[in-house]
Amino acid sequence: MDRNMKILIVDDFSTMRRIVKNLLGDLGYSNTTEADDGKTAWPLLQAGEFDFVVTDWNMPGMTGIDLLKNIRADARLAKLPVLMVTAEAQRDQIIEAAKAGVNGYIIKPFTAVTLKEKIDKIFQRVAEAA
């Protein structure tokens, strides 16, 4: 797995962005950029060669699920791995995210171990598919 991969962290709470950024740093991924909702994330994704997106669901402007749908509908970004890290823990929501093509789903509050597990699994699958 490329420890230097470019990761976009999308969450409207600056503290949560910081926590995710720190945890990713501890896992060896320090090439991160932050966006506070889907709307600000979208132009960054369009412009900047990101390898991985970690996004919240419930955000003003553009929600994480809409960001995910936009990513999947965009020819250049369609295959970008997306990990949803959200407080939304309803069965319907998890199914909706799965249908929209999410690669991993983490329910807040979460631990560093869960984050590592999900990231490892996502990139293991990406490697298998390649």
Binding site: N22, I106, I107
Partner: protein, 246 residues
């Protein structure tokens, strides 16, 4: 038989007898009498309409008075709710500040542990050189240097860590303050709830619960609250995604 029908019966009887008199006047060719009855009939009708308007106005007036009479509800709407919103905004601000302060201290503490680790590595490397050179004086001096460097690092680092931990503990006081504020807001919400229930009762509760439900703009549930929402754990989510082929 409903009340409205009961009230309208005497009026119908009056109308009927007036109409019979009008027919008789017409049959006897008494046109002026017929006109008189006709204008009386129109008068009766207008008076009845006026009575209804007066009655509706009176009811409306009472209803408005009832609503105004609920001082608690009007106080809640005009001052308590804006006040509660301000307090909740403050809670968001305080908790955000506390979280950032905590993260700052964690970052600082990580740096301190890194420094200690670096000093330890220098000692380890110097010791290896001492063994390799069979206690060459320069290497022994270097090891002693590294050891005193490590002493400084450990002393400074641990006192920093200790004060960071004290500060971390202190920051947790936000829970007490925000907890009190949130409890106050809960009281306001309860006041609104009981005020609305009383208002519904006083207006005869013509509105059924179903009519009151406002469509939810927000379909997301938000963070799970134990006892309030049925939600999945990470394990449930993993199992569900596995079922879906993830």
């Amino acid at each position: 038989m409903n009340a409205l029908l009961k009230e309208s019966i005497p009026m119908h009887i009056g109308t009927l007898s007036k109409l019979k008199e009008m027919v008789r006047a017409l049959e006897s060719g008494d046109e002026p009498l017929y006109e008189l009855y006709m204008s009386q009939l129109v008068g009766m009708r207008e008076q009845n309409l006026l009575g209804s308007v007066v009655k509706i106005t009176r009811e409306l007036h009472h209803a408005v008075k009832d609503i105004n009479a609920d001082d608690r509800l009007s106080r809640v709407a005009s001052s308590d709710i804006p006040d509660a919103c301000q307090r909740l905004d403050y809670v968001v601000k305080v908790t955000e500040e506390a979280a950032h302060k905590t993260l700052d201290l964690v970052d600082q503490s990580k740096e301190q542990t890194d420094q200690i680790k670096k000093a330890m590595s220098r000692v380890a490397a110097a010791r290896v050189r001492v063994y390799a050179s069979n206690n060459a004086k320069a290497d022994v001096d270097n090891l002693l240097d590294a050891i005193s460097g490590m002493e400084v690092s450990v002393n400074m680092g641990t006192s920093h860590l200790r004060s960071n931990l004290t500060e971390l503990a202190q920051i947790q006081e936000y829970q007490d303050l925000t907890g009190q504020i949130i409890k106050r807001v809960i009281r306001v919400v309860r006041d609104v709830e009981s005020g609305l229930i009383e208002m519904l009762r006083s207006t005869g509760s013509a509105l059924k619960a179903g009519h009151l439900s406002v469509p939810h703009e927000e379909k997301l549930e938000g963070p799970a609250v134990p006892g309030l929402s049925v939600s999945s754990s990470q394990q449930d989510a993993d199992a569900l995604l596995a079922e879906l082929g993830f």
